[in-house]
Symmetry: C2
Subunit: 206 residues, 2 copies
DNA sequence: CCACCTCTGGACCAATCGGTCTAATGCTGT
DNA sequence: ACAGCATTAGACCGATTGGTCCAGAGGTGG
């Protein structure tokens, strides 16, 4: 388990077994869920024997799921950074994220789900899975909020905008999956909540 | 479990076996997914023997999943109708939906997912499951859009508002699940996409 | 060449999976 | 009472599940 932080810096010749497992796991879990994916199928997709799995991930399937979620989450964070960093405004950056995700959605076959949620919401009462997913998702929001701040939004606004964007992405991705149509994702940035013409009062009655 | 409006027209004494199966299936699939729920656990929760399952649902688990999704979807539609029908505006109706769903989320233990998506996105390449889910979700949107029209929005606006609301609900529910905090859902109506920040005009219903 | 280590290959396992089948148990009308 | 249907009850099945284990391949340093 030497360096975990090797995303795919390798030149495309021999993909190491550990990463083949990660990719296969992320891809399969995305489509069929954690418990919907059997080890046999997973190992076949990764072209790895069972021994390798339990060498690289001593706790087996659950370890692999956590690592695959991390791996996918880092890809998402990279996509967010790549989209917002060169953007002139938050809105422009968000639009780029939508377009990149839409293209990704098409490339994956128009039916895949969010890797992290697909992987980590399976655990029945698996508290570890849940907290892991929560940490990753909050990382997305925090990362987005940082860009929002940098691009001129005030502290509270940035956080709210990031959350709103996250919500739209998750919901929009799901609707795109339902319809097998990436245009839903492409149009999400138009639905972002524009920081209200008036003061937002969040009263909760009832 | 957790009646939304009027789930069972049956008198409260003996819940028939078929409905016990539906309730147990909806509840378990919501939390653990389709393939994450075993028949043994399901039958134990429903207090029904295996024979009853295959009597009421000849194709077994998959039949039950479809029926449970229908059952849950109808509850959702009823909640939508109950919220929008007495509402003076679309925004008010949407707010009521959010509050009712938030309460429901709390009642279910703050960790359950959307019944339909949790149930029907599991199928690997199960086209039937996918189309079934698509039909149910489009029903939610269509139902919401009908209320939007009735409450004054133009045809295209109504559809767009319904879709936007659906996206927010799905994404927001997921974030609520991640955080185990129903306030996310309660605040969703504030994030609805308002087409024009200016004064609302053109309430012409032809 | 050997010792040593990482990693692979797959045989093997108990447990559980979803599903089938049949016998028994009601409950109806006659 | 009886027949006939709907429903329940659970034993039983083959297939598959995730997981364990160890022999050996492949490389590296002595």
């Amino acid at each position: 388990m030497t360096d975990v932080t090797t995303p795919s810096a390798t030149p495309d010749g021999p993909v190491p077994t550990r990463e083949r497992l990660l990719r296969a796991a992320a891809g399969l879990f995305r489509n069929k869920g954690y418990s919907g994916t059997g080890l046999a199928e997973l190992l076949a997709a990764a072209e790895a024997p069972k021994g390798s799995l339990y060498h690289h991930f001593p706790n087996g399937k659950s370890d692999l799921a956590l690592a695959a979620a991390d791996w996918a989450s880092e890809q998402m964070l990279a996509l967010i950074d790549a989209s917002f960093t060169p953007a002139p405004t938050f809105q422009e950056g968000a639009k780029t994220v939508c377009y990149k995700l839409a293209k990704l959605f098409d490339k994956q076959g128009k039916w895949s789900g969010c890797p992290v949620s697909a992987t980590l919401f399976e655990g029945p009462e698996n508290e570890g899975f849940h907290q892991h997913a929560a940490k990753l998702f909050e990382g997305w929001i925090t990362g987005t909020a940082a860009h929002a701040r940098r691009l001129g939004l005030a502290e509270g606004e940035a956080r709210a905008a990031a959350e709103n964007f996250y919500i739209l992405l998750q919901g929009g991705w799901q609707l795109a999956r339902v319809r097998r149509d990436s245009d839903v994702i492409r149009g999400l940035h138009l639905q972002m909540h524009t920081p209200a013409p008036g003061p937002v009062q969040a009263q909760k009655n009832d």
